[in-house]
Symmetry: C2
Subunit: 469 residues, 2 copies
């Protein structure tokens, strides 16, 4: 969080006005300039102030995208791609105005190749829609950020979620993309083969480029077989360090956990209060295994042994779907349970990720900081990846409170950087973390800028995001 990084760019009034006129004529009701549409397409899910686009175009095909990009390029007007607007760092704000390209109507599933465990979708398909569609094929797409985000947005921000420890992040699950570049041409980054060493890895370059290098028009994704059995369980530990040590050992021993989530004692207390549960109010791991009857029970036994070694309670787990949902209830409701602690306050989610050996140390130091400064701030972590979120609850209407929150986030990010970690495991840079990216990868910024300049010399693609350009 760094409000100083949210700059307002220079507006090209003449170009914008020309483009608005042409889009209105060309797209009719598919182009909207009303205040409500513009507000809805600026940043609404974060602490960052909204910066409205001048209009919103609802594209329905690659051809539309090419058309809009060519028009905006000709008149040097910014283009801001929009999926569901669930990103957290101001990614869809329009600091220099321009056109929001809404992908909601590009929501077709173009192909499912069940034998190859892959599919190709348009960017507006949401992860939940995709999984509903796939259910009958016996396949699923495992990446699960908190929101029901669009696949296009998840690709653009290199999203992940609770399953990443087993299935990786978007970078590991995108096989190929089609992308409309700043010149309005559509390119394909790779064939559908599982493996390739054919030229530069443009697929991975566009994954996580946050709309600043091109507009994604289709995504070919790896899929996974729906596990025959899923086993879920819960285990409380005496201390945070014990819980983290159990995670490290689980990963080191190669136990293929599908999920291993850490909730700190404050988060557990919040969940107990919110959902009338009675978990022991200690640091707790929520664990899930995917496999066959045999393999999940084997994994559960392996994990139980590890947990016991670090003083964990006896590991309660089940393959019964209802019981599993009950066991995992605290994890699923964590966000709302935290918000309920103080419904009148705003909430802000941090996103550091550190090498797993430093996780306990980083979380503990962060808890100390929270206590010392009197924050209300539960912690939920994707512990297997070393990634954790502090949900900072504070009155974001009071400048002094906001400043205090900014200082806390700065300390947290510095702490993670000092441990060879990152300021963002899965949320991306957007506007809010531009300053932290400079601190984290300053030496690499000239190379990032050179790439941006090579691919978008006029800086029309989502300007004002990722870095100062």
């Amino acid at each position: 969080m760094a409000l100083k990084d949210v700059v307002s760019g220079v507006r090209n009034e003449e170009g914008i006005s020309t483009v608005l006129g042409i889009l209105k004529q060309r797209y009719g009701e598919r182009f909207q300039t009303g205040q409500a549409f513009r507000e809805q397409h600026s940043h609404t899910t974060s602490y960052l102030p909204s910066q409205l686009p001048d209009g919103v175009v609802f594209v329905e095909s690659s051809g539309d995208v090419q058309d809009v990009v060519k028009l905006c390029a000709a008149h040097h007007v910014p283009i801001i791609p929009f999926g569901t607007g669930s990103s957290l760092e101001g990614h869809v704000n329009a600091p220099s105005g321009g056109i929001s390209v809404d992908f909601t109507r590009m929501n077709r599933i173009l192909a499912v190749n069940a034998e190859d465990l892959d599919c190709t979708v348009e960017p507006g398909v949401t992860r939940e829609d995709l999984n509903t569609y796939l259910r009958d094929t016996g396949l699923f797409f495992p990446i699960d950020p908190g929101a029901n985000a669009s696949i296009g947005g998840m690709t653009a921000t290199r999203a992940s979620g609770t399953n990443a420890v087993r299935y990786g992040t978007m970078k590991d699950n995108v096989l190929s993309l089609t992308v409309v570049t700043a010149d309005g041409e559509e390119i394909r980054t790779a064939q559908r083969a599982r493996k390739s060493s054919a030229g530069y890895d443009l697929t991975r370059l566009f994954v996580g480029s946050e709309g600043t290098l091109g507009l994604i028009t289709s995504i070919t994704l790896r899929l996974q077989g729906i596990p025959e059995k899923i086993s879920g369980g819960v285990c409380a530990f005496p201390t945070l360090k014990d819980a983290c040590d159990a995670v490290i050992m689980t990963i080191q021993m190669g136990v293929p956990v599908a999920r291993i989530e850490l909730l700190d004692e404050r988060q557990i207390r919040a969940c107990n209060a919110y959902s009338k549960l009675s978990y022991p109010e200690r640091p707790t791991l929520f664990v899930e295994f995917h496999g066959t009857e045999e393999t999940v029970s084997l994994q559960a036994r392996q994990f139980a042994d590890i947990a016991a070694e670090f003083g964990g309670d006896s590991f309660v787990h089940t393959t019964n779907p209802e019981e599993r949902a009950q066991l995992w209830k605290a994890r699923h409701n964590a966000y709302w349970a935290s918000r309920a602690l103080a419904p009148e306050l705003g909430a802000l989610s941090t996103d550091v990720c550190v090498p797993i050996s430093r996780l306990a140390e980083c979380v503990a130091a962060t808890q100390d900081d929270i206590r010392e400064h009197g924050f209300l701030a539960p912690i939920v972590g994707h512990a297997g990846d070393g990634n954790f979120h502090v949900l900072l609850l504070f009155n974001d209407k009071v400048p002094a409170e906001l400043e205090k929150a900014e200082a806390f986030i700065s300390r947290l990010n510095q702490r993670a950087l000092a441990m060879d970690g990152t300021c963002t495991g899965e949320h991306g840079i957007g506007q809010g973390k531009i300053g932290y990216l400079e601190q984290e990868l300053g030496s690499a910024l000239p190379a990032m800028r050179a790439i941006k300049k090579g691919l978008d010399p006029d800086n029309i693609l989502n300007p004002g995001k990722v870095f100062r350009f």
Copy 2:
């Protein structure tokens, strides 16, 4: 294979001569211009003609690399990074002359973080050296191309090998890099955290960039725990299609095979003759499982059931290391067994990779082509990835034979491209596949060129590779 793509660039005689003089003075015995050194550092492992660098500098530190790059940049002299010279597509040739930067002496293991399952090495460390070093830690690095390649070279070419079906390729196993860019600055592409969405994925951009965007000076790698148990086995099938169908089913059912290699009947015959073995002379899968006693035996049972379903012989497997080596002998000796079929002929390895559902069809059509044109050409495939190599044996001294081989490779690559496959699963583009990359990803080449131009505007980094620039 496309000799027409091996062009000789324009030589900057004045710059080269200046740089030679300065390097001689600065590096003494660490700079060599003798014919033998220069020949050894041009391309010796492929059918492509050698194009010698003007001198070879043996760098010992990042500082040396920066120094050499700054010097060459100032005088517009090409720089060709050199690991072990085991690449296959002319990657280390010097079509415009210039300086070969030999990384052999940058072979330190800089850090092993056992708790985090990662390590950081200099580029000259070979994969075998790394694994020897790691043995006592209980960890290993799984990527295993045929040669004992350097980690730097493997990173630069996005290498893989037999373990990729389980552990991925270099793109999945590099966490972070330091790289000296064309301006002589050293950059770091990522922190050591397992997961990040901090800015453009430069790590993945440099992986597979074949020395054309920067010189890699250190690599942080993911490591794996050495499996408690390894089980290896062999199974012959009535037809190639049956063998491939068994592979598809194995992958689809999520059986976590560590290796699943296909040898066609001709390759098996060659192995039987070479090593005095008596495998049934039919398409055969060599399979390996990594895990605990319990999980490998479970996996072996799952695979045996699948194999039986597709008419496979009864699946013979063992966890005894000596017996396992004996069972897998044919696979390990495949290359030399093939060469022994006609020791007087040259050999050339192709590298297509297709979506796994098309593997049987692609291999079968390729076998038909081999038969029809009377080639001696056994096939070995990393079947789980859809990647296979035809070892084409022919008299490369006879122009008509070379032409016939080129035509065969062209048909093979077209066949793979038509199936949404790639002309190179793991060998890279180098010089030999420049024309095929144009066919495969033509729409993306302007973007690749824009990136190259952004990062190396004077084209001094390994010029004449990957694409025409």
